[in-house]
């Protein structure tokens, strides 16, 4: 290997470890590094150029590319469009156990209500202990009606009822909470497919825990494969999570990262700031 090739290998290896230590999934770190290597193919690396600096400049472009989706989603705008057609805008919250789906749904409800929209909630987690009580407490705080059935009832029918209710009462938004599920559980993946088939949501949002390591990638991959993810929200960024999961999930789904959760209160939901994120991960 030439000296420059060796220097490139070293810089790339260091970069890969930096990405992984910032919670970027191994496979995603590989892809990022391959993109950087490809961008240098055939280029003359001058003897006076710092290999490391070249790698990091290219990294910024690669990361920006990953975090720039094919189509941006302006949530308020999308809801207004549907509201003009007198149809409710339906959102489903999807993710593995404990990532913050129910809490994030409450934060979104609070945000949308502040922006003047009418909302109804569907308690489609009919499985977990006190899931319906937890959602009801939150929705009561925000001032939103919850459509609920009994535990063990069909989650898809709760969603259906909420949508019918929204149509009848001319409500702008339907928010559908779903039970946490492991992507390796075939039956639960069939269940979420059914909920989405019945609800025909305008937006399927993946709620992922920013503290997750490589699993964030598998979550994004499997949910995208089974139901198709339209947008992502990353939670618990206040826990000193480095945010690498943002890259893994964005790379996998190619969909916009809409918000990040930075705490347990309703206001702790902020729009994802791409430039701020890039500058902090490159730090």
């Amino acid at each position: 290997k030439t000296l420059t090739e060796k220097k490139m290998d070293e810089a790339i290896n260091d970069l890969k470890l930096l990405l992984v230590s910032n919670d970027v999934a191994m496979d995603t770190a590989d892809e990022i590094c391959n993109k950087i290597i490809d961008s240098f193919k055939g280029e003359q690396i001058g003897r006076l150029t710092s290999t490391k600096k070249m790698v990091f400049d290219t990294l910024k472009d690669v990361i920006t590319g990953i975090l720039t989706p094919e189509n941006e989603v302006d949530l308020l705008d999308e809801i207004k469009k549907k509201s003009k057609k007198n149809e409710p805008y339906v959102i489903v919250f999807i993710g593995v156990n404990g990532t913050g789906k129910t809490t994030t749904m409450a934060k979104i409800a609070y945000f949308l209500k502040k922006n003047g929209f009418s909302i109804v909630a569907a308690a489609s987690d009919t499985f977990r202990a006190a899931a319906i009580e937890q959602l009801s407490y939150h929705m009561n705080n925000v001032g939103i009606r919850v459509i609920k059935h009994s535990y063990k009832s069909d989650p898809a029918s709760v969603a259906y009822d909420a949508i019918e209710h929204a149509k009848a009462k001319n409500i702008d938004v339907v928010l559908i909470d779903s039970a946490g599920r492991q992507v390796s559980d075939k039956n639960l993946m069939i269940e979420i497919q059914k909920i989405c088939r019945i609800a025909q949501p305008d937006l399927k949002i993946l709620i992922a825990d920013s503290l997750a390591g490589n699993d964030a990638l598998y979550q994004a991959r499997e949910f995208d494969k089974h139901v198709g993810i339209d947008a992502n929200i990353l939670t618990k960024l206040d826990a000193d999570a480095r945010g690498g999961a943002a890259l893994s999930i964005s790379f996998e789904t190619k969909k916009p990262l809409l918000f990040i959760g930075v705490g347990q209160n309703y206001e702790d939901l902020i729009p994802f700031d791409r430039d701020f994120f890039i500058s902090s991960i490159l730090d």
């Binding site: 230590s21 191994m26 404990g98 913050g100 937890q134 992507v183 503290l211």
Partner: protein, 291 residues
């Protein structure tokens, strides 16, 4: 989980006619990749593999050529990090025995309190649970619903907002009703929430539990080490329980947590149901890991 990624490394070792210096270097690279893909902390991965590499390189090449020797090195290094099997929690019959569960938001504490209750119930103890989570909506209802299925009492007070007071008062009530073991649930918290970390310290000081257990989500990545470290600083951490190992999570965060705190893993959660709970067997775990 962690096993599946190491499995390939081990298979490669087994397929080699003999192991020389180049092969050792290649194996170390594979091992590093397997551990990193399983969410083990970067620094820890390098520390572990450096130890293995040193041992492998320094040993008489004749002996080092034996692949089972390399496998034993990896096995021993993993066991060293996981620690041996922790001795069972000392339950003093006729005395109050309190177990306190702590951990990050959403890690599975409340669910695990119920699983632990069932585990001790099956061993013939009189078990009760207490919820001191005054923050999360429905936390009390959640523990009640989980424990009523197995006929276990749940103590709580929806009118008390002070977690320390509720932990102490409700635990006292349970002791007066002659329960042998009282398992206490707490609200989720992470190391950046300084006030909540202090509250946890105060809860432990007031309860003086037999053991404090840190509940860790099986998906926890590179943050596992520093988060566990902070929990161990704020409490007399006794052991760890890893949850959600029934999914795609590889559980490497658990390795990091053990290294950071020096405590062992007692149980693992392998599902949402109350019986999806197993004692952690480090030798068996590493044995299955290395085939």
């Amino acid at each position: 989980k962690l096993g599946r990624s190491l499995d390939n490394t081990i298979r490669k070792i087994r397929r080699l006619p003999q192991v020389d210096k180049d092969a050792i270097n290649a194996l170390i690279q594979d091992l590093q990749r397997a551990l990193l893909s399983a969410d083990v902390k970067v620094e820890l991965v390098f520390e572990m593999t450096e130890n293995i590499k040193k041992e492998a390189m320094n040993t008489k090449l004749q002996k080092a050529r034996r692949k089972d020797f390399i496998i034993k090195l990896i096995h021993d290094e993993l066991i060293k990090i996981l620690g041996g099997k922790p001795a069972p929690i000392r339950i003093k019959p006729g005395k109050k025995n309190v177990i306190l569960l702590v951990g990050i938001q959403g890690s599975g504490k409340t669910t695990t309190v119920a699983k632990l209750a069932k585990y001790y119930l099956a061993k013939g103890f009189k078990v009760a649970t207490v919820t001191s989570d005054t923050w999360r909506p429905g936390a009390y209802e959640q523990l009640v619903q989980l424990t009523e299925k197995i006929g276990v009492r749940c103590f709580g007070n929806l009118n008390e907002k002070n977690s320390i007071k509720i932990a102490v008062k409700e635990t006292k009530k349970a002791i007066l009703e002659a329960f042998d073991i009282i398992i206490v649930d707490t609200a989720g918290r992470h190391k950046e929430e300084k006030e909540l970390m202090e509250e946890m310290t105060k809860i432990e000081q007031s309860l003086k539990p037999n053991e404090v257990i840190l509940v860790i989500d099986g998906t926890l990545g590179q943050q596992a080490y520093s988060q566990a470290e902070e929990f161990a600083k704020a409490t007399n951490l006794g052991s760890i329980i890893i949850t959600k190992l029934d999914g795609t999570a590889k559980g490497g965060g658990a390795l990091s947590a053990c290294a950071a705190t020096g405590v062992g893993i007692r149980f693992i959660g392998i599902g949402e149901k109350i019986d999806e709970f197993e004692e952690f067997e480090p030798i068996k775990f590493v044995g299955t890991l290395l085939g």
